[in-house]
Symmetry: D2
Subunit: 138 residues, 4 copies
């Protein structure tokens, strides 16, 4: 298992007239979470796209909204990998407010795609190598 | 059952550098779908908020992404109610491109909330009355 | 001179907690205005990008915000070309609410760019031909 | 004069199919710049809204786009106040990429508004006091 926390502040443009973060904006929070989780491992999306020639389209997302996030709060985005990816990688997401209360929880699955062939491919070995130590079994 | 189709064009600002609509932007398509479905019944969100004093926060969303939507396509947003709402209303969503291919499918559940008490409330009778004819059973 | 009106409804996700459309979201309204203006002439951005190999990055934008737009209003986006474009095209924008009141006014200038050379190029003749009748002088 | 730098990373959802940050998304960067500039002075928008009862609608924005910002770049947002605000406050904005190149420059003017009366009001004294040391003249 590998888990990483990253913080992001709620911006005015993300709220709606209910006074809360618009439900559709959390997808961006989830993107930030998984990108920064990868960066914490020494890997970036940008590198995977530009150097490894891999794209990662999202194949599914689920979100359960429990509490609203409000303007200017510093939100903790927790991103967890529960298992090693194969042709798909699933990020488990939890957002917490400043009091540590769970705001929403979800998961986002992406596949590894070779845009030249349009085919799904296995996890790039470079990424697997960085993840392996956290999933070592005896 | 009640189903309604509405069309929306893909805008440049909705695409990302993969050349497709960003996965997070479909929540706005889903919002458009359910709002226009309600309008087709003679009911608006705005009326429910301002006149009935009801807010409708989203409690969950699921999306399966099958095909990408691309710039300038005219997308058909199909919104379906499969059952009468109670304290919660669940919209089933399907997006189709101009060739009639399914782009993604999902569902969004919202609850009816009285913002004065912070309590969940039943579906406003005015909305139920408009829906009833489509769910009449013998 | 050529002017074109197009309507767009204010969506929930475009409002902020002030209860108005977020100031940053009007850029998307302006995009819609100029794209639909071009379509009304029988020309599309998509065609210019894909068939003519021209990109149109924005070089400047000015906006004066006069009145707020609110949720669910049907906004009229008026896009006006005051002069024939050369290497740059300037769209004058006016947004009106349902009562015909001016909400904001602005202008957006874009240049014609050949992405292969990175150079600015003149207005594609195909577009000029469509515009010429509206700017014919004796 | 008072100037403050803040950094923000370009997110995937902010790019468009041209491969650059969508021109409309910089308004959010500008919001981040001015909010963090105020915070650096010990003042927050949230406090002004909730405690001082002041709203700050944007009255105008100008942007000149010079270079594109690309995915995953760490952008420096420089926000400068050139003069003390009165009933209006004007933020001068400059965005720089990681090489220190100017991406775009603009200015955003906001007014101080009492939402109860709908009237423009002078700069809250609490904010003026925090700014005064940077504008002291002999």
């Amino acid at each position: 298992m590998y888990s990483f926390d990253f913080q992001k502040r709620v911006r005015y443009g993300e709220t709606d007239q209910m006074g809360f973060v618009y439900y559709g904006n959390y997808a961006q929070y989830y993107e930030i979470g998984r990108v920064e989780m990868l960066r914490s491992l020494g890997m970036t999306y940008k590198y995977m796209e530009e150097e490894l020639g891999i794209m990662m389209p999202v194949v599914s997302m689920q979100v359960r909204y429990l509490r609203p996030a409000t303007y200017d709060q510093l939100i903790t985005i927790r991103t967890t990998l529960r298992e090693l990816p194969d042709t798909k990688i699933t990020f488990h997401m939890e957002l917490f407010n400043e009091e540590g209360k769970l705001l929403n929880a979800g998961q986002v699955a992406l596949k590894f795609l070779d845009p030249k062939t349009g085919k799904t491919v296995p996890t790039p070995p470079e990424l697997l190598n960085k993840l392996a130590p956290y999933f070592e079994t005896t």
